[in-house]
Symmetry: C2
Subunit: 130 residues, 2 copies
DNA sequence: CCTGCAAATGAAAAAGTTTTTCAATTAGAG
DNA sequence: CTCTAATTGAAAAACTTTTTCATTTGCAGG
């Protein structure tokens, strides 16, 4: 997604597309599973308070997704749909695109629960750690 | 799992099965998706530092699993295998036992990555919130 | 292109969480 | 029962996140 599109979404929802917000979005996009530290490093000019608020807003708008993979929060662009393979030895995180989840047959799904998204994390040990 | 079995596992791994550790384990077992606050409430006699250390140990031994469902860490007994349906409206978390994940065909699985566990969270809206 | 103002920002402080330190206590092997 | 290494708890330190409030700014409307 181009930043102009994102800026449009922000404005379209009644918020201001400030340089700080766009800088945070860019920082999230710059690296997979971006950490707060990584964002801070790429936006030294944006105050930490604003980073927190921007991430809240961008998550609320569905532009950014917050990940909880252990070891503090991480963020990624919401447009990416993929899952995570997490090595418990070295902490390395890799992604895979192929989605091995089939929600069709779940009891409440299609019934009283409307699914918007899902996240899957697979934990184990990579070859280097074995 | 009975607590004697858990105590045995702790001792068998070279740690001491202290009353504090068993109290924390019991507190985790007492409620689904137990929070730190919930543990604290059920173990007022155990210092918070010890709670943190006990949870680290129990997770390391595979007796307890840490969940990151947003809104702070949660803990559950590792023996339960189930997934979570999270309503983004009211924050309500329900579980389902049926596992809609099939890891067989994943690229690295069976190859260089050895799977130990996985976790799946499904986000959406419950009927009450719609 | 200006103007005005509600929304947004940043610095500081407050609140909350997790880790470290260290002296005192204790589980459990022998 | 004794002894010792492991564990605990209180206090303090370190870190993270939220709140507050005065100042600044994006942008809608003229």
């Amino acid at each position: 997604m181009k930043f102009e599109v994102a800026a449009g979404k922000i404005r379209g929802s009644g918020y201001k597309a400030t340089p700080q917000r766009l800088a945070v979005l860019e920082a999230v996009a710059a690296e997979q599973h971006q950490s707060l530290g990584g964002i801070r490093a790429r936006c030294p000019e944006v105050g930490m308070v604003t980073v927190y608020r921007a991430l809240d807003l961008l998550s609320g708008l569905g532009l950014v997704r917050r990940l909880d993979l252990g070891g503090g929060p991480r963020y990624e662009l919401a447009e990416d749909h993929h899952h995570h393979l997490i090595c418990e030895g070295c902490g390395d995180i890799t992604e895979f695109e192929q989605c091995p989840v089939d929600l069709q047959d779940l009891p409440r799904v299609g019934g009283d629960f409307e699914v918007r998204a899902h996240s899957l994390e697979v934990y184990g040990t990579c070859s280097a750690c074995r």
